[in-house]
């Protein structure tokens, strides 16, 4: 007897009680809907979090001197030609549409003083135009303005630092640091690498919501920073922001090829910011557990439905076996029925899930209500989450639910196949 005939019988069995079947399918389909919504919001929020996270840090890919990741030494600077080589790499036809920005940075530590106070700071010498394309700091200015290309002696600082130094826009601050000494760099300092200082004027105050940045990071024009540190034309790192996080590895590998033999390290953000990467991994793990719970609920729903149908039709199965249907054929019939029910459920679930998904992808899930009146003026992450769901995610979700249903249907199928004669035929 052909499997198709058995599946046909299974399919018709489903429609013996159309309302019941549709309600069951809807309930099971909701499981897939929940799974899709959960995954979509998870992927969307992760994409946003990664995007924001890397934009407050090293970008998706960072190029820095060999050993910088481990030591953080400000003496470790990139060889001069690396900046031009890297920028040229992103101007190539293949890479042009991959990156959103490339920003060279000179990093150092220093002491920023005002008339009222002083505090240790992380100096970032940047090219304002380039940094705007890569970092979120320029977008988080809450007072004054961000640095402008060609501007000299300006500095932007965080709200926490501004509060500590008791400075406002236009205030004068003094930055003191130690000139960089590298084997291949001659400092411009007469003392050969002694303390350097410069007078800067606060042009903007930013608020990122991240205490470590708001209290300690300052940004100033790159030429000024290079002059202060005595390393003209040198930078510590190049931060690269890409269109898609998923391309980080590919771009890092491409750059490595480009810079073969040059003593640099090229790191995707997961290696450059391992703590952030681990945070996402932990979040992923938790969400997978939650999705597993949803999947288990869907599975139990299918098991319950099919098992009830099997128990209710004991006589019918006895009749089939009495007429000569083999137990294995009976099992195939039940599995066919379960899969047909799953297919209906998946269709409903997919339609509903993608509909809701589309809404969250375009309008977003607005979480501002959560903060109510205490919404901070700047958040680390966007309070509106936009769902993102790739075709692979949809296909794998549908596939997993279908596979779960298939595996789970084996039990009722086995139970049906074990229908005992003549017990199942009470009439006989």
């Amino acid at each position: 007897m052909g499997v198709l005939v058995l599946v046909k019988i299974g399919w018709r069995n489903l429609w013996r009680n159309p309302r019941g079947t549709l309600l069951t399918a809807l309930a099971l389909g909701l499981g897939l809907t929940l799974l899709l919504i959960s995954l979509g919001l998870l992927d969307g929020s992760h994409e946003q979090m990664v995007d924001n996270g890397v934009r407050f840090g090293t970008g998706h890919v960072v190029v820095q001197a060999q050993g910088y990741q481990e030591t953080g030494s400000q003496e470790l600077l990139l060889p001069v030609r690396v900046v031009s080589t890297t920028e040229a790499f992103f101007y190539t036809e293949a890479m042009k549409h991959v990156s959103r920005g490339v920003s060279p940075r000179l990093l150092a530590s220093g002491l920023l003083s005002s008339a009222a106070n002083a505090d240790g700071v992380r100096i970032m010498g940047v090219i304002p135009g380039d940094e705007r394309a890569v970092s979120l700091i320029p977008q988080r200015i809450v007072e004054g303005n961000y640095l402008a290309d060609g501007q000299r002696s300006g500095v932007v600082i965080g709200t926490a630092l501004a509060r500590k130094l008791a400075v406002k826009i236009g205030a004068k601050v003094v930055l003191v640091t130690q000139a960089v000494q590298t084997p291949d760099t001659e400092t411009t300092d007469a003392d050969g690498g002694g303390m350097q200082s410069t007078l800067l004027r606060v042009s903007g105050i930013f608020r990122t919501g991240i205490q470590a940045i708001d209290a300690h990071v300052i940004q100033m024009p790159l030429p000024e920073a290079q002059a202060l540190l005595g390393v003209p034309d040198r930078v510590t790192q190049i931060a690269v922001l890409l269109d898609h996080e998923g391309e980080s590895l590919m771009v890092a590998q491409g750059l490595r090829k480009q810079l073969t033999g040059v003593p640099v390290e090229i790191l995707p953000w997961r290696e450059a910011m391992p703590t952030l990467a681990q945070l996402f991994l932990l979040d992923d793990a938790f969400n997978y557990v939650m999705n597993g719970v949803v999947l288990a609920m869907v599975g139990l729903g299918i098991l319950n439905t099919i098992l009830m149908r099997v128990i209710q039709r004991r006589y019918e199965f006895g009749l089939c076996l009495a007429l000569g249907l083999r137990p294995v054929q009976l099992a195939v019939m039940i599995i066919g029925e379960a899969l047909a029910l799953t297919a209906i459920s998946l269709t409903l679930g997919l339609a509903l899930g993608l509909g809701v998904e589309h809404y969250f992808a375009t309008s977003g899930l607005d979480m501002r209500w959560f903060f109510k009146s205490s919404l901070p003026t700047a958040l680390v992450f966007d309070p509106i989450i936009y769902a993102r769901l790739s075709l692979t995610r949809i296909a794998s979700s549908v596939g997993i639910v279908f596979l779960t249903a298939t595996v789970i249907s084996f039990y009722p199928a086995l139970k049906a196949a074990r229908t005992e004669l003549p017990g199942a035929l009470k009439v006989f």
Partner: protein
């Protein structure tokens, strides 16, 4: 030498519920010749159903020999029993005979489907039988759209369509009114006459007992009488 459709030798069956043993059959011996139209009657609990179950390979005897269509059922595996039921036996039950999701034609074809008979052949066979037993025009109706008598006829068609050696019918008229029951019995008599198929009934229905050409009465798991309706009593 007579070829017996069914031959039972000292068949015994005991049902056990915990420590309680209920003997259902106590040494039944009988022979049914091919082409017989035989009724097994007796009060409830006398062992009619058990006897039919054992002849049909749906249950196994605890002792004795059961030969059906020349095969010793005691020696067959459950798979072989299923094959025998499919190819050599036909069943008509009291009620709920049909699969509710299949049409009348599909129900009648069911056993042919199980045998792997090609679609054209299946259709022809069912069509012929349906015309023979007055079901023409009802092929595409589902059981719920048929009367009780029509449903039983479809069940008879399903039992007959594979051209079995024996048809076992348990109370086939129990849920039918007398007119419908008569019509059904006429159909089965006609099939017995035309095709030479052996019919074995378990019944309470006096009409069935009257029409049977041989009547076996059971009492307490034993044959109380075995009478040829022409008037010749047979030895149990």
């Amino acid at each position: 030498m007579t070829e017996w459709a069914v031959e039972l030798k000292d068949v015994r069956k005991i049902y056990r519920t915990g420590p309680i043993e209920v003997p259902a059959l106590r040494g039944i011996s009988l022979r049914v010749a091919a082409g017989e139209f035989l009724a097994i009657a007796g009060p409830s609990g006398c062992g009619k159903t058990t006897l039919l179950n054992i002849i049909g390979g749906l249950d196994r005897a605890d002792a004795g020999e059961v030969l059906v269509d020349g095969k010793n059922l005691q020696l067959l595996s459950s798979g072989e029993l299923a094959r025998l039921r499919l190819r050599r036996l036909g069943f008509v039950f009291q009620a709920y005979n049909l699969l509710p999701v299949l049409t009348a034609r599909e129900n009648a074809e069911f056993t042919l489907l199980l045998q792997g008979v090609p679609v054209k052949q299946r259709k022809d066979k069912v069509q012929k039988l349906f015309s023979e037993i007055g079901l023409a025009g009802l092929e595409n109706r589902r059981p719920g759209e048929l009367s009780g008598g029509q449903q039983q006829r479809v069940a008879v068609a399903r039992a007959m369509v594979t051209e079995p050696a024996i048809i076992l019918a348990d109370e086939p008229t129990a849920n039918l009114d007398s007119v419908t029951a008569t019509a059904l019995l006429e159909v089965m008599e006609q099939l017995n006459r035309v095709h030479g198929t052996t019919f074995v009934y378990a019944t309470h229905d006096p009409q069935v007992m009257e029409r049977a050409r041989r009547l076996i009465r059971l009492r307490d798991g034993q044959i109380a009488s075995d009478v040829a309706q022409a008037g010749h009593a047979l030895e149990p």
